[in-house]
C-alpha cells in the first residue's frame, strides 16, 4: 500500500450528513472485478442528473475544486454497505484525506487499507473548515505531527487531530497487513490445534 505522510492541496466542502456508500459509488459501478478506474464514477448520481447533464451546484463539478485532494464532509460519512469500492473510488479520484465529525465503522476501516487518512474533528471545526475551503485555500496535512495547517487572512492557522497510533503507523509505513499476519502463522496453527480439541465440531464438516 502507498505510504501516507504529508499532503498539500485544496479541499472540497461536502455539506451533507449521513453520506452513504450508495451515494459515494452507486451500485451500477460495483460490477467491476478490478480495484482501479472508479474515480470518474465517484458521487455519480450527485454529479449528473437522470439525463446525464452535469449538476453545476454540486461541488465536485465546480472548477475551483478541480484537483482537490481533501474532502470535508458531514457526520456519519460512509454509512451503509461494506463495499470497498467506496474508498477505491475516492482514492482513484485523487482524494487522499477526508475530514468529518464521524464515520461509519466499516468505511472508516476500509480507508486505512487504501492509503486514505480519515480525520475526525468536532462538528463546529469541520463546519469552519468547510467555509474556509470555499476560498480555495491550500491545506497542509501532516500525519506524523497530526496537524492541519493553512493560511487565512494572512494568519497561520493550525488544527491538531487525534488518531489511533496503530492506524497511524499503518498509513505512515504503508504496511502489508497480510504479510505481517502471515509471519504469525505458527500462532495461528497453534490456535487451530487448541480450538479443534475444545470444539471439534467446528472442524471437518464441509458441504458437498
Amino acid at each position: 500500500m502507498e505510504k501516507f505522510n504529508k499532503l498539500s492541496g485544496h479541499a472540497i466542502p461536502l455539506r451533507i450528513t449521513n453520506v452513504d456508500t450508495d451515494m459515494i459509488i452507486p451500485k451500477q459501478f460495483l460490477k467491476t472485478i478490478k480495484r482501479t478506474g472508479l474515480g470518474e464514477f465517484l458521487f455519480f448520481e450527485l454529479k449528473f442528473d437522470q439525463d446525464g447533464n452535469k449538476i453545476d451546484s454540486f461541488a465536485l463539478n465546480q472548477d475551483q475544486y478541480k484537483g482537490a485532494s481533501i474532502l470535508i464532509a458531514g457526520k456519519n460519512f460512509g454509512c451503509g454497505s461494506s463495499r470497498e469500492h467506496a474508498p477505491w473510488s475516492i482514492a482513484d479520484y485523487g482524494i487522499k484525506c477526508i475530514i468529518a465529525p464521524s464515520y461509519a465503522d466499516i468505511f472508516y476501516n476500509n480507508c486505512f487499507k487504501n492509503g486514505i487518512l480519515p480525520i475526525i474533528l468536532d462538528e463546529k471545526t469541520v463546519g469552519r473548515l468547510q467555509d474556509t475551503a470555499e476560498n480555495t485555500l491550500n491545506f497542509k496535512i501532516d500525519l506524523e505531527k497530526q496537524n492541519i495547517t493553512y493560511v487565512e487572512n494572512n494568519e497561520q492557522k493550525e488544527i491538531s487531530f487525534d488518531i489511533d497510533p496503530a492506524k497511524k503507523n499503518c498509513l505512515l509505513e504503508g504496511l502489508d497487513d497480510i504479510g505481517l499476519t502471515l509471519n504469525k502463522a505458527v500462532s495461528i496453527g497453534n490456535f487451530e490445534g487448541n480450538q479443534e480439541k475444545e470444539t471439534p465440531w467446528l472442524y471437518g464438516n464441509k458441504l458437498t
Binding site: 449521513n18 450508495d22 452507486p26 472485478i33 478490478k34 456519519n76 461494506s82 496503530a166 502471515l182 495461528i188
Partner: protein, 467 residues
C-alpha cells in the same frame, strides 16, 4: 475488574490468536461467506502475491447480488454481471471452496444460506464482504461485514486484525403487541438510537420481546444492526437456537450436538455483566413502523405523519429533512397511511425467509393486488422457494396477482434487472431506503412483510391489522 462477561466478551476472548505490539488483536475467523461483488479483487490480490486460501473448508461461496430472479434458463444476460458471477465460480474452483451456483437449489442470499445449512453456529466468528453479515448474530455468533481488503486477509490467514468494540445492551421489555413483528422492533430501535447510535459498539439484544422471537425474527433484528451503525448485533443462544440448528447439514450431530449445546449454553451473557451503554424500549410502545425518508432512522408509526421541517430546530437536521422530503416527493404533515405506492418488494436478507412468506400468504389469501401496483416476492434462497411451493404459498401469491420469482438480493439493491424507475414509490421489506438504493430516483418505504403485503392489496401504506 469483574469476571462477569457479555457474550461478546466471551466470543472475543475465545478467538484471540495474539495481541500485536500496537494493541490490536489478531482474531481467529471461524467462517467466511463469499459473494461475487466484494470478492474478485481479493482473489486477484492473493494471486498477485502468490498466496493461498488457508482454510477453504471454512469458506462458502454463492452468487446473490447479480443473479436474475426470472427467466433463469436464459442465464445471466448482463455481461458485467455474468463476468462477476463467472469470476466467483472460477475463483472458488481454483481455491477448492464450496460454491453454490444458480442451478443448485441451495443457492440464495448468503445470509439466508449460511443459517439454512448450519454453517452459522453459536459462538463462532463469522465474516463476509457484506454489511448485513450482522444477521448471523441471531445465533449468538459474532458476525460482521468487512471490506474487500479484509476478505483477502481472511482468505489468506483465516484471521483479521481487530480492535475490540464496546458493549451495548438493547432491551425490549414486555411482550410485543399482536401483529408487531421483528421488523417493527428493529425499526423502532433505529428510530430511537439513530443510524450512528451504534457506532463503535456491538449490540446485544435482550428482553422478553426478543426472547419470544423465532430464529427468523431474530435474524431480522440482527440484520439491521448495521443500519444502527453497530459493528455487529447478537442475541445469546437458547433452546430456540439449538432447536433450529438440529439436523442442519453442517450442524454437529449425535454426541457432538450434545457437547456443542453444553458449550453454546455457556456463551450467554453472565448476570451482572457490564455494558458500556444500555437502551430500553417497552414493546407496548411499538406498533407497525415504516420509513418516510431516505435514512433508516426516518421512521414513523403507521398512524403517524410525514415530519414538518419547520418544527426542527437543528439546522443540519432541518436541511436533511427537506432534502429527504424533496427526494421522496412528500409533503410535510401528510398522514403516512395516505401515501400511494407503485411497487412492492418482498424479500431480501432482512425478510426473505419462509416465515416472512407465510405471513404474507395469510394477507394475500383471497385478496387481489391493487391494479396500479406491481408486487414481487423474491424468496431468499432456493430452499425457501421450494418450501413455499411445498406449502402451496406460491399458488396463493400468484392467484392474488403477486409476481413469484427466483432467489437473490434482487430489488433490495437493484444490481440485477429488478429496479425502480425514477420517482416510483415502493413498499419494501428490505433494509435501506437510501437515495437511489432500489434504482435511481426510486422512493423506498421500509416495513414488515405483512405491511408490504397490505400495501400491495390497497395500493397505499396501510396498517395490515385494519384489513
Amino acid at each position: 475488574m469483574t469476571d462477569k462477561k457479555t457474550i461478546y466478551d466471551k466470543i472475543w476472548e475465545s478467538h484471540v490468536v495474539s495481541t500485536n505490539d500496537d494493541g490490536t488483536t489478531i482474531l481467529y475467523i471461524d467462517r467466511h461467506l463469499v459473494h461475487e461483488v466484494t470478492s474478485p479483487q481479493a482473489f486477484e490480490g492473493l494471486r498477485i502475491a502468490g498466496r493461498k486460501v488457508r482454510r477453504p473448508e471454512f469458506t462458502l461461496a454463492t452468487a446473490d447480488h447479480n443473479v436474475p430472479t426470472s427467466d433463469r434458463d436464459k442465464g445471466i444476460t448482463d455481461p458485467d454481471s455474468k463476468l462477476q458471477v463467472d469470476t466467483l465460480e472460477q475463483n472458488a474452483k481454483e481455491n477448492n471452496i464450496t460454491y453454490l451456483p444458480m442451478s443448485d437449489k441451495r443457492q440464495g442470499i448468503v445470509h439466508i444460506v449460511g443459517p439454512e445449512q448450519g454453517f452459522t453456529q453459536p459462538g463462532m466468528t463469522i465474516v463476509c464482504g457484506d454489511s448485513h453479515t450482522s444477521t448471523h448474530g441471531a445465533f449468538g455468533a459474532l458476525a460482521w461485514g468487512i471490506g474487500t481488503s479484509e476478505v483477502e486477509h481472511t482468505l489468506a490467514t483465516q484471521t483479521l486484525i481487530q480492535t475490540k468494540a464496546k458493549n451495548m445492551c438493547i432491551k425490549i421489555t414486555g411482550k410485543a403487541i399482536e401483529g408487531v413483528t421483528a421488523k417493527d422492533i428493529v425499526l423502532a430501535i433505529i428510530r430511537k438510537i439513530g443510524t450512528a447510535g451504534g457506532t463503535g459498539y456491538v449490540i446485544e439484544y435482550t428482553g422478553e420481546a426478543i426472547r419470544n422471537l423465532s430464529m427468523e425474527g431474530r435474524m431480522t433484528v440482527c440484520n439491521m444492526s448495521i443500519e444502527a451503525g453497530a459493528r455487529a448485533g447478537l442475541i445469546s443462544p437458547d433452546k430456540t437456537t439449538f432447536e433450529y440448528l438440529k439436523g442442519r447439514p453442517l450442524a454437529p450431530a449425535g454426541k457432538e450436538y450434545d457437547d456443542a449445546i453444553k458449550y453454546w449454553e455457556s456463551l450467554a451473557t453472565d448476570d451482572g455483566a457490564h455494558y458500556d451503554e444500555t437502551v430500553e424500549i417497552n414493546a407496548d410502545d411499538i406498533i407497525p413502523q415504516i420509513t418516510w425518508g431516505t435514512s433508516p432512522e426516518d421512521v414513523v408509526s403507521i398512524d403517524g405523519f410525514v415530519p414538518d421541517p419547520t418544527n426542527e430546530e437543528n439546522a443540519d437536521k432541518k436541511k436533511s429533512i427537506e432534502r429527504a422530503l424533496d427526494y421522496m416527493g412528500l409533503e410535510p404533515n401528510t398522514p403516512v397511511n395516505e401515501i400511494k405506492v407503485d411497487k412492492v418488494f418482498i424479500g431480501s436478507c432482512t425478510n426473505g425467509r419462509i416465515e416472512d412468506l407465510r405471513a404474507v400468504s395469510i394477507i394475500a389469501k383471497g385478496r387481489k393486488v391493487a391494479e396500479s401496483v406491481h408486487a414481487m416476492i423474491v424468496p431468499g434462497s432456493g430452499l425457501v422457494k421450494e418450501q413455499a411451493e411445498k406449502e402451496g404459498l406460491d399458488k396463493i401469491f400468484i392467484d392474488a396477482g403477486f409476481d413469484w420469482r427466483d432467489p437473490g438480493c434482487s430489488m433490495c439493491l437493484a444490481m440485477n434487472a429488478d429496479k425502480l424507475q425514477p420517482q416510483e414509490r415502493c413498499a419494501s421489506t428490505s433494509n435501506r431506503n437510501f437515495e437511489g438504493r432500489q434504482g435511481r430516483g426510486g422512493r423506498t418505504h421500509l416495513m414488515s412483510p405483512q405491511m408490504a403485503a397490505a400495501a400491495a392489496i390497497t395500493g397505499k401504506l396501510t396498517d395490515f391489522r385494519d384489513l
